[in-house]
Amino acid sequence: MKVSFSRGEKIFLTLFLIVYAGVAIWNFGKISFPEGIGKVWQVHVPLPSLLGTLNPITVIMTVVIMSILIYMAVSFKRHLSKIPSKKQAAIEIILSFVYDLVEDVIPVKEFVKPTFYVSMTLFLFIWFSNLLGGIPGISVGVSSHHLVLNLFTDTWPSPTGDLNTNVTYAVMVLFISHIFAIKLKGFKNWMKGFIDPNPIMLPMNIIGELAKPVSHSLRLFGNIAGGGIMVLMLSYLAKYTIVPMVLWGFFGFFVGTIQAFVFSMLAIAYISVQLEQ
């Protein structure tokens, strides 16, 4: 394969490499160990102890992602037409992909739409927050005694890198699946499901159900938060010369997309398991 560049491309590439190398050399002498690693900014509000602590970054980023999604949705509805534009076609492809998946997996037809709503919202929210985790942006870190503002030396903080989000969503999926099951089978039959082959299996079934949200939430949390910390450490070791861009892109776009898909896919699977008779 022969690679050829036009004049403009050559100029762009040269400038890009010069800037990249310049930033790397500029950074080289100034890197100190990221002391705030493993710590997050928290604020206290006058509420009982567990509820009184908030992670402001997570809340802010959640609001940002929500506004992006709602803006997209409103513009989708406003420019809706039978013959789709490019934007509409792209959104339609994503939506119909998940919808087809839900339609295939869910055995009861009347639960297809609610499941689609839940899993699609999960997918969009998690996907967008993971993608933000792959783009350099502004974040607030914590040093030993004070806050540090990171201006484009780190990615945007993603809400899925916070355990609160993941655990909440996983537990919510568990509750939703059981609520659907009770709606479908009735309370008595649902209770019977726990002693399904034999009453001896009751503790096993309960543990299995409780293990679901744990693995569900920790998988996503580990991937996103662990990815972020790994990038930080590797960048420190390589003195921010060349590593972050590639790794941010890898963890944000590649792993992020896969994990968002896996999370919503597992949500669909857990719901469909509860709906099977």
Binding site: K39, V45, L54, N55, M66, K82, S96, V118, D162
Partner: protein
């Protein structure tokens, strides 16, 4: 302001839950419902088009069948007409033949009659001519010497021959 370990579980979760349901509500309202309605509409449109196409196909097939039947009928008619025409032509030919034959026969008859008439006429004329000739001859002979008896006899014979020939 304070900091905590990054693996934590606190009040943020309640906010996340609330925000999730708010997001889901808004997305259902602005994204999913219109999307599903669009899908349904598109499916219905396609189904309607398909039905239309099917109906027109059926109609075309029916028309084709009808046309074929009509064609068959027409063919039969044509063949019947052909037969009839053939019959008529045959009849006409026969008639014509008969007519021509009879005409020819008539003409022959007529010709024969005419010939006979002509012959008769000619004979008549000849006879008159012969008679006059004979008279003239006779007068000439008589004018000459008619003494000879033998000559007279011969003449009479000749005359009688003429008479016989008639």
């Amino acid at each position: 302001m304070s900091s905590g370990v990054f693996v934590n579980f606190n009040g943020t979760s309640i906010l996340q839950l609330m925000s999730f349901f708010l997001l889901m509500y808004l997305l259902i309202k602005y994204l999913y419902k219109p999307f599903l309605a669009l899908l349904d509409k598109r499916r219905q449109d396609i189904k309607a088009e398909y039905d239309k196409a099917e109906a027109s196909k059926k109609e075309a097939e029916e028309m084709k069948k009808k046309m074929e039947a009509e064609m068959k009928k027409l063919n039969e008619k044509i063949s019947a007409m052909y037969e009839e025409a053939k019959e008529r032509v045959k009849k006409y030919e026969e008639n014509e033949k008969k007519r021509v034959q009879s005409e020819i026969a008539n003409m022959l008859e007529k010709g024969r009659r005419e010939i006979q008439e002509e012959q008769a006429k000619a004979e008549e004329a000849l006879r008159t001519k012969v008679v006059t000739l004979a008279i003239a001859l006779a007068s000439k002979v008589i004018q000459k010497d008619l003494d000879d008896k033998a000559k007279r006899e011969f003449l009479m014979n000749q005359l009688s021959k003429f008479g016989d020939k008639k």
